[in-house]
Structure formats: structure tokens, C-alpha cells
Symmetry: C2
DNA sequence: ATCCTATTCTAAAGAATGATAGAATGAGTG
DNA sequence: CACTCATTCTATCATTCTTTAGAATAGGAT
């Protein structure tokens, strides 16, 4: 596996990136880190891993230069090193969805609510935002909203949605988004909203796709 | 590693693709297969692997649905299953080049001739083809030219170049291309051509990038 | 200084992957 | 119907990856 010719050395390096993407745990952590920087503890919790295990995977990711760390005592905050990482992960997921029938089936069964007839994409959301007649809800945990959200969106973590329905202007269409195409929060939100009579729709993608589409991302509390 | 929740099942499937991309041998074979379908024997020879080993890697790639096989007795011909595979491999290589300094350095040292000041890209080649005043040389092995080449290009495998120089119109700029950004044939060709007084340039990419850019690909002998 | 906390480092067992040899398959061909 | 050839399947061993436990580090806080 050690490179003798320049060519095999080159492919050895390419495979460093491939190896970093060869574990479900690391792919999930990359998805989580796409939402903004996180501590080891947050990552371990959200990906349901032990802390030591999460730390080991993070080391692998860091050695492949896909993530970077920053100290903010007493924490260490990890983040995705480059938008190119997001592009690769997104292409990999798109490929898996296209080529592996199981992925498409799981997606349909678990990540798209039955009522969820027509999720909209980044461009459609943009159009409707320009028309001005839509309420956009960010149903991710609040710290992910703070780290970066679609301008104009309201932070409404999924656990708070049901008791904060009064804050949503009635008679106005609502769009909910979460982390991306494989995040359940948005479909759950759409289900709840429709149950209470709102014209609700899910956005297929999340903030990372919004960013990659070249749109500005807002940070901070509100 | 077996999926319990839908989410972990999903990431297990994503990692199937990642695992397939986690070996230098498989990444090299994907690059070779991007040039057109090949037999196990051709692949093993071009990637310097044993036949059985190559076959085992091909099985892995096939199980991840990244390549497909077709029988043409007595041979089995392999091909890349989908353009999405090319996109992922390209993004992965771009990421490695951007994030891993070693890759950039190897590329500069071995894959770009010193005289090779300004390699052109797909769009620039297209412009110059439309102007009409450029000779395009395909310096890959002849069977790869046959499997698919840039319309108007002449097949001139690198081993034949030096004794076929008389066929190249003098006083006219020449562009040489091979398999892609990490293929040495084109730089070697540019060196040789410049030595004999031609105004020669290398194209950075190859037929796969041309295809992905939505351009038509010509097949057959000439 | 010493304590405290988050995190990494070290080490080791278990699981998965890689390379290769030998047997088996399977589709023409004589 | 056997023969031939390319290729795959099966089995093996060495290597690498994953996970987890225990020790060590680093940086504030007391």
C-alpha cells in the first residue's frame, strides 16, 4: 500500500479520502458537522456513539484533512474543513440514492411523510421567499440555527413546535427545513402543521445545500 | 455495522459506496474504466495488479453498484455504471488535491511537464475547436480512442507519436489530451512536440470530463 | 499549586479487508 | 462431447480498521 511509483502514491492519497468516507459513523458525523461546529460530546450524542469512539473517528477525519479542530476551552470544536468536503459527501449520497435501491426505499419509507407530496428545493424556496408570502421554519436544534440558517427563517426546534403553533401566522403557507434530505425533523413538522390546518411543505435540503448554491447564510439568535 | 434504526441503515448504505472508494487499486480501476469498458486482463495490466486480485476488486465495485459487467465471450467487459460515479470520483480527487498538499506536489512534479505552462480546460478547447485552427491529439491507447474520443481528435498513442510526427500539420497549434488530470501521456506528448518545434499544449482533463460537460463523444476508428 | 473537566493517547481484542493459490464455472469451439 | 480459455468462487493468512478501556494531557478555576 506504500507508494512506489508516483501514480500509485497519488492513488494512495486519493484513497485516504475514500477511507475517511468508508464508515457510517464518519459519514454521519460529517453530516452533523455540516450544520456547524460541534464538540466531541455533541457529536457523540447526536450520532449515538461513545465519546472515545467519536474522538477516534474524528482523528481519522482530521488525518484525512476533512475536518479541522479549534480550541475553545474547555471544549474542542470541530468543523468541516472545506466546502469541497460537503460536495463530495453530497455526491456520494446522491450516488448511493441513485444506484442502491435500498436507499431510495428507506428514504421514501422513513424520511418522507405520506402527506408530504411535493417537497420543494432550494431554488423554489428562493422564489417563494422573494414573493414574500411564506413562513420558513428551521426545526433543527437551536444551536444549529445559531451557527447558520436561511435568512428570514424562524428557529422552531421540533420539540417546541407543538406548543408554539400560535406564533405561526395562520392562513399563510409554511415551509419547514432541517439538516438535509435524510433528516426526519422537517417531515415530522409538516405532519404536525398539516394536522393543525396549516398549508405546510418540506424543503428537500438544508443549510449546507443553500450555502453550496451560493446563497448567504445568516448567523446568530434571530 | 448492521442497521438497527433507519438512520443507521441509511448510513450503512452510504458507507458501502465509501468503502468501495477506499482502496487505491479500485480508484485507479475506476479511472481506467472511465475511458471505456475493459476486460479484467486489461485492467489488471494497466493497474499492475494480479488478475485474481483485480477480479476481487471488481467484485467489490460491482457489489457497491459502481460498475457493471457485460459478457462478450470469451471476455467479460466491465464499465462504470453511471455518470454519477464519475462525478463522485472527480470530486474526491479534487478534494484530495485541494486538501492534501502531497497530492498537489506530486501532480506538479510528475504530471505537469516543466514546459507545460498553461494547460487548457474543456471550455477553452471547445472555443479553439470552434475557431478551427487547432490539431487535437488523443495520445491514449488506441482502444480507448475507439471507445470514445473528442470529435475531431486524431488517435496518436504516445508510443507512436515520435515516428508519426510527419502526419501533424506544421505551423498549427496542437493540443494533446489523455485520460485526465493524473495521466502522464499528454505531458510527455507536449514535451516531445515542443522538442520538434510544435506549439503544443496539454489539456488538463480527458474524455470523462468532456462527457460530463455535456459534449458529444465520438466512437469508432477515425 | 492543586483540582476539575474535556479530550486525546495507548493498548488490545474482535471484525473486516486484501492478496493470492487452487478448484470450479461457463460459454464457445473443434 | 470433450477441450479451451477467461473469469469467478472458495479458502487462507497477513494486515488493517473498529471499538472500548485505562492512562495521560491540557487548560481554566479554586
Amino acid at each position: 500500500m506504500t507508494g512506489r511509483s508516483p501514480k500509485s502514491e497519488l492513488y494512495d492519497h486519493f484513497s485516504r479520502v475514500g477511507k475517511a468516507l468508508a464508515s457510517p459513523a464518519r459519514l454521519e458525523m460529517l453530516d452533523l458537522l455540516s450544520q456547524g461546529e460541534k464538540t466531541v460530546e455533541q457529536l457523540a450524542g447526536q450520532a449515538r456513539l461513545g465519546i472515545k469512539n467519536a474522538s477516534a473517528h474524528l482523528r481519522t477525519l482530521r488525518e484525512a484533512r476533512l475536518v479541522e479542530a479549534r480550541k475553545d476551552p474547555p471544549y474542542v470544536l470541530y468543523r468541516v474543513a472545506d466546502d469541497a468536503v460537503l460536495r463530495v459527501v453530497r455526491e456520494l449520497q446522491a450516488l448511493a440514492r441513485e444506484r442502491l435501491a435500498e436507499v431510495e426505499q428507506i428514504t421514501r419509507t422513513y424520511f418522507e411523510a405520506p402527506s408530504d407530496l411535493e417537497p420543494i428545493d432550494v431554488h423554489q424556496l428562493l422564489e417563494r421567499l422573494e414573493e414574500g408570502a411564506v413562513t420558513v421554519l428551521d426545526v433543527r436544534p437551536r444551536d444549529e440555527y445559531t451557527a447558520g440558517h436561511i435568512p428570514g427563517a424562524v428557529s422552531m426546534p421540533i420539540e417546541e413546535l407543538e406548543r408554539r403553533l400560535a406564533e405561526i401566522p395562520p392562513g399563510r403557507p409554511v415551509v419547514a427545513y432541517c439538516r438535509g434530505p435524510f433528516c426526519v425533523f422537517a417531515s415530522e413538522a409538516v405532519d404536525t402543521l398539516q394536522k393543525y390546518g396549516f398549508a405546510a411543505q418540506r424543503m428537500k435540503s438544508g443549510v449546507p445545500e443553500w450555502r453550496l448554491a451560493g446563497r448567504a447564510v445568516a448567523t446568530g439568535e434571530r
